[in-house]
């Protein structure tokens, strides 16, 4: 089995941080790469989306939204009872694990493509859809019934944020263009995808490596949570994928989505809506444990489980 270049670049980034290299990806390049990845995922998904009848898409999407609402509640209960965090921090971290990570999804796509395993590219729709419920449930858990005031401005910000906007926009453009229309943009949005993802993973290696030092304050229980949760959620996501009729690759990718933890949308939303929650508690485990765990181990596990279920 060949080693994924994506993983090697990620490792290089981690090593660069550990040896205190001066390597730094300029912020505008990071920004441009994230815009590119979101559009590329959206466009590819959109072309595929146009081929699917609404009668299968709507129930699938509803099932995925339900998953996105249940997972943060499970995470919250575990964080409160087993990790013994206070309500506010448990709710904020639950929002991270309920929401999803675009890059983990992209790494999952690259993992499947490298092994020539087919999957439904329209899962990019579920990526867009899954970003929001976890965050909303997290704010509700933190604020209780009085969440209304904090929820509306935050929801506006998340829905108008670049990830939801570019994913849904890319899906719509891809669906309108169709395979023939997309062909003219394919040299940029299809052929360069993996190389761009490698650059992005290099940068994320740097970010991840920086979180390692912060982990000493996290406590063993929270670190354990950050490994067990993606495994359980990934298996649940893959199982749901099988139930709603996805292929093995698609189920593995839905597992990857469920296992991933948001490190962009959720932290930003929590900073605004639940400011008393400590980012020093959530980010080290989300970025320093769960993200690398999914990239190095999780992707293979969720696929293996999807294969096992399909038998």
């Amino acid at each position: 089995m060949s080693i994924d270049p994506v993983i090697l670049f990620f490792l290089l980034g981690i090593i660069a941080r550990l040896v205190k290299s001066d390597l730094r990806l300029p912020e505008p390049i990071y920004e441009a790469l994230s815009v590119y990845l979101l559009l590329a995922l959206g466009l590819k998904g959109g072309v595929e989306l146009a081929r699917h009848p609404l009668t299968t898409l709507v129930p699938q999407t509803l099932a995925v939204i339900a998953l996105g609402c249940v997972l943060p509640v499970v995470a919250y209960v575990a964080l409160k009872r087993l990790v013994r965090l206070d309500r506010i921090n448990a709710a904020a971290i639950a929002a991270h694990y309920g929401s999803v990570s675009v890059v983990t999804f992209a790494a999952g796509v690259a993992w499947l493509e490298a092994r020539a395993i087919p999957f439904e590219p329209h899962l990019a729709l579920f990526l867009a859809v899954l970003e929001v419920p976890g965050i909303v449930v997290g704010v509700l858990l933190a604020r209780g019934a009085g969440a209304g005031g904090a929820l509306t401005p935050m929801l506006k910000e998340v829905l108008a944020g670049k990830s939801v906007l570019l994913l849904l926009g890319g899906l719509a453009i891809g669906a309108l263009l169709g395979p023939a229309g997309l062909k003219s943009t394919a040299p940029l949005f299809v052929d360069l995808f993996k190389g761009a993802l490698c650059l992005f993973m290099l940068e994320l290696g740097l970010v991840t490596g920086r979180q390692f030092a912060q982990l000493k304050n996290s406590g063993a229980r929270l670190v354990l949570f950050a490994i067990v949760t993606p495994l359980l959620f990934g298996v649940a996501g893959a199982a749901l994928g099988g139930l709603i009729g996805l292929s093995v690759g698609g189920a593995a990718l839905l597992g990857t989505l469920a296992a991933s933890a948001s490190y962009i949308a959720a932290p930003a939303a929590m900073r605004v809506a639940v400011p008393e929650a400590s980012p020093g508690l959530s980010l080290p485990v989300v970025l320093g444990v769960t993200f690398p765990f999914n990239v190095f181990v999780g992707l293979g596990v969720y696929h293996a489980y999807a294969v096992f279920l399909a038998r």
Binding site: L204, Q214, I264, P267
Partner: protein, 103 residues
Amino acid sequence: MEQSWHARKLLTIIAEAALERALIAEVREAGGGGYTISEVRGGGGSGERAGDWEGDRSVEFRVICDEASAGRIADRVMARYATHYSLVLYLTEVGVRRAERFP
């Protein structure tokens, strides 16, 4: 042509980028007139903010106004955000041309 410098205060606020929109609203509501924002990075007692990805960005927020407006903005920002956010606020004397543009 106007030749002299007019005395004003420069209020500088360094904060997490998450506060950017909120700070703009505070300045507008407190009658601060205009503002300038730059992205910055740095470190402090609770670690480094390298600004290399979304969750780690910091902004420097500058407002030129009279002392009363600067006080109002600082009071509002302190009351609402000082508890849960990293904030640095400082005030300096500046001289401006085109004084009519500043409160």
